[in-house]
């Protein structure tokens, strides 16, 4: 649409045409007492200097912002170039300036990469490089490619597209909403219309992860630690815009970690997971070893490690069964649990 055409439209007609504009118009205080069925040109005519000054309103600025917004949203909605089929890192250097120990590190949707290394070794920098789609312009000199190409600048600068979603231990819900209201709000911000089914799926996925079930009408701030984490994971898997999910240690308590990873990979996420728990680290397809600010090594999970993992899982299961048995007052016996 040209500026001329836009001026002939009313806010209401524009919102009907582009539902995503409702959030934009809600932020336009100068309009709040005016009739949204009138054309923008007519509305502008109603504004006197005092009104304009009160709201620091400038017609041309407004039109520019409106047109930018429409143009950008059109680019984003359903655009193939923002689908990530592959993310790769080209090596830079560690803190001492030595080259990193890999040639090209590739991440694909539905795969898990674990990240190991002491705290302060450079995990946050690695994450930041991905998030900023580094182009040799960060302290590590790494370069990030998306779909084997130089990425679109929008990944870096737009508030509406972020490459990485983050799940970490110390996150809380702070909004005063029920689970359903909360998910509706998130869906609305993502321009998902008709979110009913999706919301049901998220809640049932979260309930599967958490053991103790919650209803859509529970306040999010009243959820237990395990339930909150389960909801955050299910929501991130099904509703987050970001193709990459970084998990910073998942505690063993209150949630089924294996299922959590399955939900994320099932939704085509690229999963990165910082952990030192062998049960998690070995679930990954590959792991990155970080040392002295650089990627020291990339290791594919070996067949032997996979065997080890299933032994560990059995031992873990045994422990859980014993815990349940103890709780119900049983006497434990050596051959009871295999």
């Amino acid at each position: 649409m040209t500026q001329r055409e836009i001026l002939q439209q009313s806010p209401q007609a524009l919102i009907e045409k582009y539902p995503f504009l409702s959030a934009f118009f809600e932020g336009q205080h100068w309009m709040s007492k005016l009739n949204p069925e009138q054309s923008l040109a007519d509305l502008f005519a109603l504004i006197d200097d005092e009104h304009a000054e009160d709201h620091a309103f400038d017609v041309q600025d407004f039109i520019n912002q409106l047109m930018d917004f429409i143009a950008e949203m059109k680019v984003f909605i359903g655009n193939e170039t923002f689908q990530v089929h592959q993310l790769s890192i080209l090596p830079g250097t560690n803190k001492s300036g030595e080259p990193e120990g890999f040639e090209k590190l590739v991440f694909e949707p539905r795969t898990i990469t674990s990240i190991v290394g002491p705290t302060g070794s450079g995990k946050s920098r690695l994450l930041a490089d991905i998030e900023w789609v580094a182009q040799g312009d960060t302290p590590t000199q790494r370069r990030i490619l998306i779909n084997e190409e130089l990425p679109d600048n929008a990944w870096r600068f737009s508030g509406n597209r972020k490459l990485v979603a983050q799940l970490s231990q110390n996150m809380n819900f702070v909004m005063d909403l029920t689970v359903r209201e909360f998910l509706e709000l998130h869906a609305k911000s993502r321009m998902v219309t008709d979110s009913g089914d999706l919301i049901k799926r998220i809640i049932s996925a979260a309930n599967e992860l958490a053991g103790e079930k919650f209803s859509p009408d529970t306040a999010i701030t009243a959820l237990s630690g395990g339930q909150s984490r389960a909801l955050m994971i299910a929501d991130t898997a099904l509703l987050s815009q970001s193709p990459v999910v970084l998990i910073d240690e998942i505690e063993n308590a209150g949630i089924d970690r294996k299922k959590a990873l399955e939900i994320l990979t099932g939704e085509d996420k690229i999963v990165l997971m910082a952990t030192h728990d062998p049960l998690l680290a070995l679930m990954a397809d590959q792991r990155i070893v970080i040392k002295n600010g650089g990627i020291h090594r990339v290791i594919k999970t070996s067949a032997e490690e996979r065997t080890l993992l299933s032994e560990l899982e059995q031992a873990d299961l045994k422990q859980q069964q014993m815990r349940t048995a103890l709780r119900s007052g049983a006497v434990l016996q050596r051959d009871m649990y295999l």
Partner: protein, 231 residues
Amino acid sequence: MNLVTISGPPSSGKTAVILKAAENLKKRGLKVGAVKFDCLHTDDDLAYEKAGIPVKKGLSGSLCPDHYFVSNIEAVAAWGMEEGFDLLVSESAGLCNRCSPYIKEIKAVCVIDNLSGINTPRKIGPMLRMADIVVITKGDIVSQAEREVFAAGVYAVNPGAVIMHVNGLTGQGAYELSTLLFDERTKLDTLKGKKLRFSMPSALCSYCLGETRIGESYQMGNVRKMDIKNN
């Protein structure tokens, strides 16, 4: 010299973010100075000093802090150039969401935090709407979904801005921000003749001028009345 104005609601993380960004610039050998504008009191100057950043502070007292800012920024910028700073950062508490004095051709950053409530981006007005860069802080405390909802709210109000997440405690994102704050090619000589991005309300009533007595007969100048009946 580069000049950047940073504003945002009190406690949104302005000082924390500036300190983390400055750390990164100093590592590159750049010289950073700061000025803090506030109303009655600030300790931020101590925080800057402690970090080895030369600082001036301006307290507006009974004046509108933003009007005070405009009357003083030119002299402060001149000080910054004398000191040979590569970057001078001006921090002002956005006490008056309406005024927030952004200057044309001078990079304007608005800092706003995830905890301030989902409707805050819509309420905050020109300070957010006219910024070039919006920094969102305190993402470490809230969920991924809340971060996305909040950022979408910011985006709807200011679609043209660069929107960044920075953690004022760990400094995550501060390196990236620092690369946007300083640009080698920018050479500011003087602020004289530059213009505000929008006019400030000409709020001059008798109370602006020190009147303390309440009552119709004491009110002069630019007085505006609520419409109580049709409210």
